[in-house]
Symmetry: C2
Subunit: 242 residues, 2 copies
Amino acid sequence: MSNISLIHTMPKKTAIELKPLEKILSLWDVLTPDERQFVNNNYTVHHFKKNEVIHHEGDVPTHMMILASGRVKVTKAGVGSRSQIIRMLKEGEHFSYRSIIASDVYSTNVTAFEDSVVYMIKADIFLSILRHNNAFCYRFLEELSTDLAASDTRTVNLTQKHIRGRLAEALLLLVKNYGLEEDGATICIYLSREDLANISNMTTSNAIRTLASFSDEHIIAMDGRKLKIIDHEKLLKISKTG
Amino acid sequence: MSNISLIHTMPKKTAIELKPLEKILSLWDVLTPDERQFVNNNYTVHHFKKNEVIHHEGDVPTHMMILASGRVKVTKAGVGSRSQIIRMLKEGEHFSYRSIIASDVYSTNVTAFEDSVVYMIKADIFLSILRHNNAFCYRFLEELSTDLAASDTRTVNLTQKHIRGRLAEALLLLVKNYGLEEDGATICIYLSREDLANISNMTTSNAIRTLASFSDEHIIAMDGRKLKIIDHEKLLKISKTG
DNA sequence: CTAAATTTGTGCTTTAAAACATGCTTGTCA
DNA sequence: TGACAAGCATGTTTTAAAGCACAAATTTAG
């Protein structure tokens, strides 16, 4: 448990909320006691401030990462200066392992869009467990299978739907991913219009405009970055038909 | 080897060219002798005519499939009548296993666009090997990792590049996937303009128009569905700059 | 072997979304 | 505190690509 000490060097506020690896890693249960011990002795804790980049596209992967707290976005550089948000992660989700498995460089950028804490496990340790623990390996196989279908669906949605459909879909995705606040309407994540645009593959102007339309039509309500879903059915319909 | 008999019931021409499972399955080498025997006793051979559908989006997956001969396209229905080609497979590649692993229905359609022969292994047999043979499992993990990056790249390319860039990219992809004929220029696959459009996410008219432009600019040469790459460098440049 | 259907090719029109311009907030940090 | 940057909002212009219409060529089927 050598790295627990690392946590204790953090400001108390953060330390109190920070769950240990064994509580946060969804795959913990398939590890053998030995593996658990091994991992516990060999992970490191890293803090990232809002907007800090965790890793860059093209870099050689060194660690498998688990988001202990905060939120990060996975993006991919496109043509010119446009960047596309591929996925958004929340506490407990792991990332940056795909490139390790594929013996590839990172195919995406990962950026914290809230202050975040990341647990890192060295690539060789990760690989060694993958190669020795079949249940562990299989869990990742399942995850990648699900992600691949999601990515293909995304491709079709982003290329074929119109602006309103794409934005509606993005909003529904955020709801699914981050949930709603106690009022049962406000999306539990506050994004800039630009980020919203980069999820829905449109310009910032168009994200703003389309949000305004949705608001006029009483499909959503806005208060700065706070977005309330008023008419979930309509949003679903727009995302399907358009 | 019970299923070899099945092959012998086929027209001789096909039978002669048809490689047995052990020659076609790239993962054969990681199977144990027992597993090899087991798979050999439990695969079936299926013939599909040109344009015949092998499986539909939404169907419950029953078999892991290996393309023994011919060519198939993996598509996904989009908005309205537009369908998008996600991937194109050639002899020796396997497919339809993603949904089995993810316990999902098929997320794509698979259609033969040439007369094709498919070897099928029952889902439960496939899963049982995955769960017992770590090397086998790991191979699929690698494959899915590669495919996921490809899918994400594709998303960005299709959404952000302009028509010329998308078509150039599609042509390069075909070259990479199917290679060139002995002349070192003609792409080893003859597709309809519509299929080409569905790979590049554009209308058929635009695929035709853009091909004509490329031909005018001496980047490619056309003879019906036969496409020759004249200026590979220029094509690469167009695909990059958009 | 012809008739019908599909595929290919081209021109013209329309349209969705980008690009651009500009003003208004809000936050931030010297 | 005041100026500078970021982010939000909205109107106007431009443009890339879809949509449509139709003719020619090629396949397919009866």
